[in-house]
């Protein structure tokens, strides 16, 4: 697919290039012309130093061999897609690979017509165009965003997966540099009533997706975000404007934001009552469970990779917490009997992902690899047994259990939690 589009673009490029090259006297023989064609052909030259390279382009494309793809589910209006964690480097998620979760599809919104209405318990109800919002003092901050259903596929003890990739299990996690205006700036602008305790945030999608958010969070670090990784937010992430609640479950960071109502109580929308509530043991259901607690997972080696050799391998993965900074990640290569502190890649940003590394000399024996994150509150990423004990087994939301990967004697890696429970 990529090569087809490349060659259809290149035909015109080639004509322009060759006519220019003929005029410049560069094409003297048929072989010269063949070389110029070859540079655009799907088959790369044996020696790239012997063939001129491509020209500049307005929009770049990935190398033909690099084909990271989101993992999409069924094509329904309420659906999701997952970030290929095992194929990425560092911590930033390329915007076109950021996970998706839509409740009624991706709306087609033009920034020039989009407006944010702020009203309710305010002195001055106001409407803001995107140009208005961009004129306010802005901030840029790097935060992870994660769906609270992430990891839920490995909570049911009767259906513990084996052949599952980091993407399929934990790909509802992405990290971006977000740019926008603190919501507190806008609430100051409209004169929010100090007695207000909640807001209602509402999207302009076909679900008019709405969530109530406590005022304390809004005034702390919440953003009205319009930028993502150096460009405008992608349509799938809420173009042209989204709420961004750092460290909190992704659903509450309402996309395509069109309205904020300042209130003194939650609205009890469908997605904070019927969904995104967590039934516990004892017949209770946890509501407004916003925080994403500390998590980590190894992204290499992981299914479907097979280690081809024994010897030195760098175990890598991501750790994150919605409660501030990750302070430590422990690695076990023996199923949790012993632990070693992993190296954390600086900078360790609050409410962002951190890449960890651990050099491992694999001796060829079957090994269970586990990562365990610790955050600045002292919280230690729990085992699934601890979560079952604390919560019961009726919710898969907020499953932050220690992920386990099994390296077989043949080097094949699978999800290995089933061997420990």
């Amino acid at each position: 697919m990529a090569s087809n589009s490349r060659s259809s673009i290149s035909r015109r490029t080639w004509i322009a290039a060759t006519s220019g090259a003929v005029a410049a006297g560069l094409i003297k023989t048929k072989a010269d012309a063949v070389k110029l064609v070859a540079q655009e052909a799907p088959t790369p030259p044996d020696d790239p130093t012997k063939v001129p390279g491509r020209f500049t382009s307005e929009v770049g494309v990935r190398a033909p061999e690099e084909r990271p793809r989101r993992l999409t589910r069924s094509q329904t209006l309420s659906s999701s897609s997952r970030t290929p964690l095992q194929e990425l480097q560092g911590t930033i998620t390329p915007a076109d690979l950021h996970f998706e979760r839509h409740h009624a599809g991706i709306p087609d919104i033009r920034a020039g017509r989009h407006e944010l209405l702020v009203h309710g318990m305010v002195e001055r109800p106001m409407v803001f165009s995107m140009a208005d919002l961009k004129r306010y003092p802005s901030v840029a901050r790097t935060y992870f965003l994660e769906c609270s259903g992430n990891g839920g596929g490995a909570y049911n003890r009767e259906r513990m997966p084996v052949e599952i990739t980091p993407q399929a299990l934990d790909g509802l996690l992405s990290t971006s540099e977000w740019v926008g205006v603190p919501v507190s700036t806008i609430l100051n602008e409209v004169g929010a009533d100090p007695a207000a305790t909640w807001i209602l945030a509402e999207g302009a999608d076909a679900a008019v997706m709405s969530r109530s958010v406590p005022m304390e969070k809004i005034m702390d670090d919440s953003l009205l975000a319009y930028g993502q990784n150096g460009e405008a937010i992608r349509p799938e992430q809420g173009y042209p404007l989204r709420l961004l609640l750092p460290g909190w479950e992704g659903n509450a960071s309402v996309k395509w934001l069109r309205r904020i109502e300042v209130t003194d109580r939650p609205t009890m929308t469908r997605d904070e009552t019927s969904r995104y509530t967590d039934p516990l043991k004892g017949g209770l259901s946890r509501q407004f469970s916003f925080f994403m607690d500390a998590k980590s997972t190894i992204t290499f080696p992981a299914y479907p990779y097979t280690l081809p050799d024994t010897g030195w391998w760098e175990i890598q993965g991501l750790a994150w917490t919605g409660r501030g900074r990750i302070t430590r990640v422990d690695i076990s290569t023996d199923g949790g009997r012993s632990w070693t502190e992993a190296e954390l890649q600086e900078p360790i940003l609050p409410k962002s992902t951190v890449r960890f590394r651990h050099l491992w000399n694999w001796d060829g024996s079957e090994s269970l690899l586990i990562s365990r994150a610790v955050d600045e509150t002292g919280y230690v990423q729990p085992t699934v047994q601890q979560l079952w004990e604390a919560r019961g087994e009726r919710t898969a939301y907020h499953n932050n259990q220690q992920r386990v990967w099994k390296v077989g004697a043949d080097g094949a890696v699978t999800f290995g939690l089933g061997d420990l429970v």
Partner: protein, 189 residues
């Protein structure tokens, strides 16, 4: 829309402290204003046009009403394809629970889980029917809610839903919803 000339009002006050979040520096050393004034005043009509959410106490519910019988006709036309003939067959969300569950909850149905009846109005009037969202009138919305509640044995067959009756419905499991008690630190909850 009328431009709000607030920035000048505040400048007249003198050296008002910068807004709590307006931490940007200014190039000439001047204090940023308490208010910038970028944006427009929202008219009451504009607010009313978009302020369609419904609170648990019924605030936001519009005039109008609907019966179970009217709701059944709407359900058969608008809802049955996704939610099934009796609200239990899918393929989309199961809406109905008639018998108490042995272990709560065995699903997220209206009668078996939803804590507030007003959420039905807030959700349906915005998001349903899925392919033509936001097209149902207030009367139609009340009616289809009456029918869904009737299917869940929460209202009798002659029930009428309106801005007074809907928030008065006591959903059976409301008291089971508790605030988040996770706090970080050493306790796993």
């Amino acid at each position: 829309m009328r431009r709000v000339a607030l920035a000048t009002m505040v400048l007249a006050v003198g050296c008002a402290p910068a807004g709590s979040s307006s931490a940007a520096g200014s190039s000439d050393g001047a204090e940023p204003p308490e208010l910038f004034g970028f944006g427009s005043a929202a008219s009451a009509e504009r607010v009313a046009m978009w302020d369609i959410d419904v609170k648990p106490d019924g605030e936001g519910l519009p005039p109008g009403s609907g019966t179970v019988a009217e709701g059944e006709q709407i359900y058969l036309m608008q809802c049955i394809a996704c939610h099934g003939p009796t609200g239990t067959e899918g393929p989309n969300d199961v809406l109905v629970t008639r018998e108490p569950w042995e272990e709560w909850p065995a699903g997220r149905t209206v009668g078996g889980y939803w804590p507030y009846a007003t959420t039905l109005y807030d959700y349906i009037v915005k998001a349903m029917p899925q392919l033509t969202p936001g097209t149902m009138t207030a009367d139609e919305t009340y009616a289809v809610i009456a029918y869904i509640l009737y299917l869940n044995d929460l209202v009798p067959e002659d029930a009428v839903m309106n801005a007074e009756t809907l928030p008065a419905i006591e959903m059976p499991y409301r008291d089971r919803f508790v605030p988040d008690d996770r706090t970080g630190g050493s306790v796993i909850r």
